[in-house]
């Protein structure tokens, strides 16, 4: 069964540094998402992306965050200047249509900011 893959599985970064989290969605999917889960808290929506542009973003997704689909397979989340509170598990998801098909998730990247 096709999977969403995320790399790296764990990223340790110094505060203030830029970080890029990478995702390869399922190949025929058109809608892409990032969510995050701070330790002990619930999963929160960050951003959705369709047709090479952001379709919705949450209040968490401020100017420090950006997303990109640089080629036909990758979907990236960049945090420009990381803060301690960015430490979380970040999940990528994708789905192939708007007819109530479920979103498929990757295993996540654990981001630790020191």
């Amino acid at each position: 069964e096709p999977e969403v893959t995320q790399t790296p599985s764990h990223q340790v970064t110094q505060m203030g540094q830029e970080v890029i989290l990478r995702c390869v969605p399922i190949s025929n999917h058109l809608y892409f998402y990032w969510y995050r889960q701070i330790l002990g808290q619930k999963v929160e929506f960050l951003v959705s992306f369709y047709n090479n542009e952001i379709s919705e973003k949450s209040e968490i997704f401020d100017d420090q965050f950006s997303v990109e689909r640089p080629d036909g397979s990758n979907f990236t989340l960049k945090i420009r200047s990381t803060k301690l509170e960015d430490s979380a598990m970040y999940f990528c998801a994708s789905t192939n249509s708007y007819s109530n098909q479920p979103q498929h998730f990757g295993d996540g990247t654990r981001l630790s900011i020191l």
């Binding site: 969403v4 995320q6 809608y31 998402y33 969510y35 808290q41 619930k42 999963v43 929160e44 929506f45 959705s48 369709y50 919705e56 949450s58 999940f91 998801a93 789905t95 249509s97 708007y98 007819s99 109530n100 098909q101 479920p102 979103q103 498929h104 998730f105 990757g106 295993d107 996540g108």
Partner: protein, 113 residues
């Protein structure tokens, strides 16, 4: 706006006994509802989905859930728990499948021998 409330943060059962994980939703119109499971250090796996077809939904690994509009509930059940069911379970709502998912706070299921 959509939201879900998972009524129990932890549920403990013995292996072989039934499982009930409770979820109530709030939605201004007919929602899509999902249950996802997260095993330790793993991603979110879809267990089952409700999208306005049959109100009793069967999922993977013997789980099922019943959509009850009158009670705004979507409880997850399994007749007989297995040790491998120990995980975190999330009830999720969305107006449509391609829009943002709104997660509940999760229920940790503990299964003892």
């Amino acid at each position: 706006a959509q939201s879900v409330t998972q009524l129990d943060s932890h549920v403990s059962v013995s292996e072989g006994t039934p499982v009930l994980l409770r979820c109530n939703y709030s939605s201004s119109y007919s929602p899509s509802l999902f249950w996802y499971v997260q095993h330790p250090n793993k991603g979110l796996q879809l267990l089952l989905k409700y999208t306005s077809a049959a109100t009793l939904v069967k999922g993977i690994n013997g789980f099922e859930a019943e959509f009850k509009k009158s009670e705004t509930s979507f409880h997850l059940t399994k007749p007989s728990a297995h040790m491998s069911d120990a995980a975190e379970y999330f009830c999720v709502v969305t107006p449509t499948g391609f829009q943002k998912l709104v997660f509940g706070t999760g229920t940790r299921l503990l299964v003892s021998p």
